[in-house]
């Protein structure tokens, strides 16, 4: 199911981001610090998995030939996934998960707003649906960053540590390549480079409120969009894909 169609490849990137991040969030089910947060995290995970399905369904329609959303989720290998590295990092502690979520949500809101204006009507429709979710996600994760950062000595320390670890993975959100340039010219893709200023504003304001120190990253790590991943994605896929790998075509 490799495709040369630019819109399909773009939809798969966005679907991969959503599926992998959604899966990482789902790993908290029954393990969250308390019941209310367990349900809240599950809701966000489901939002992202639902979003992944919409992107995959669209890609499957474009590819045709019996390919379905499940083909993309369950039968591709690590190198075929093109999600951001930020999305695949292991969930870490609660501060790490919420910190990652906040950094992504602060990007995802302006991204989905812009995607809603895509010249591709299907991508625009997915964007319009996702905007509302993203607004709530950001409200929730921002709230947690302030609580943890401006909380106890330990929560502040863990939150700052997570932020420092995650920072080098944030630059990849704003990278462009040939595919993006091509689709931006057609009005289909979002020019993420233009979202950076908005993202920095949201993050700076929140870190100030949370009494956290903005990290000064020395380098950006990337590769996800080219299929070059951390070791962790392989383990994630092993769990995510096990049933379909062991029993191909199995249905519930």
């Amino acid at each position: 199911m490799k495709s040369d169609d630019p819109v399909t490849r773009y939809a798969l990137r966005l679907g991969d981001d959503a599926l992998i991040l959604g899966h990482r969030l789902s790993e908290w089910m029954s393990r969250a610090p308390f019941l209310e947060e367990d349900i809240a995290l599950g809701n966000v995970a489901l939002d992202f998995i639902g979003r992944a399905r919409l992107f995959y369904q669209y890609a499957a329609e474009r590819v045709g030939g019996g390919v379905t959303e499940d083909t993309f989720a369950y039968t591709r290998d690590v190198r075929e996934f093109t999600n951001l590295l930020l999305c695949e990092l292991p969930r870490g502690d609660f501060a790490f998960t919420l910190c990652r979520q906040f950094l992504y949500d602060a990007f995802s809101l302006p991204f989905t707003e812009a995607l809603a204006g895509s010249a591709d009507s299907r991508l625009a429709a997915i964007g319009a649906k996702a905007v509302k979710e993203s607004r709530y996600h950001l409200r929730r994760s921002r709230d947690w960053i302030v609580r943890l950062g401006d909380g106890t000595e330990e929560s502040h320390r863990r939150c700052q540590q997570a932020l420092d670890e995650l920072w080098i993975y944030t630059g990849e959100m704003f990278e462009t390549d040939q595919l993006i340039d091509e689709l931006v010219a057609l009005g289909v893709a979002v020019d993420t480079a233009e979202l950076r200023r908005c993202w920095i504003e949201t993050v700076s304001e929140t870190l100030r409120a949370a009494t956290l120190t903005p990290p000064t990253a020395t380098a950006d790590v990337s590769g996800g969009r080219r299929g070059i991943h951390t070791d962790d994605l392989g383990f994630l896929l092993a769990e995510l894909q096990f049933m379909q790998r062991a029993y191909p075509g199995l249905q519930w």
């Binding site: 610090p33 308390f34 019941l35 209310e36 947060e37 349900i39 709530y136 409200r139 709230d143 609580r147």
Partner: protein, 94 residues
């Protein structure tokens, strides 16, 4: 963590409802967080369009032992009840 948190009572007004109804309770750090959890815990299936949260400690409740003096004296005053009146047509929310 949950033991340091406050208990909140959650009231939801449904899409077609006229009043907020008590649906349950939850733990949260403060009222803002309680409102968000109420959204996540009690409106997952489109149950509501408006949420109230109230700290449980702010509710003053009548006691079981009050029943006799509170309610029994009303039993022999049927004229206070509107039960004898026929409801005019078009009034459906009395």
């Amino acid at each position: 963590m949950a033991d340091q948190m406050q208990l909140y009572e959650v009231f939801i007004r449904s899409r077609r409802g006229l009043d907020h109804k008590h649906v349950g309770s939850l733990h949260a750090d403060d009222a803002i967080q309680a409102l968000e959890y109420a959204r996540d815990v009690y409106t997952r299936r489109g149950e509501g369009v408006s949420i109230w949260v109230v700290a449980s400690r702010d509710i003053t409740a009548s006691q079981e032992s009050d029943c006799e003096s509170f309610y029994d004296p009303l039993d022999d005053k049927p004229y206070r009840h509107a039960a004898m009146y026929a409801l005019p047509e078009g009034v459906d929310s009395l």
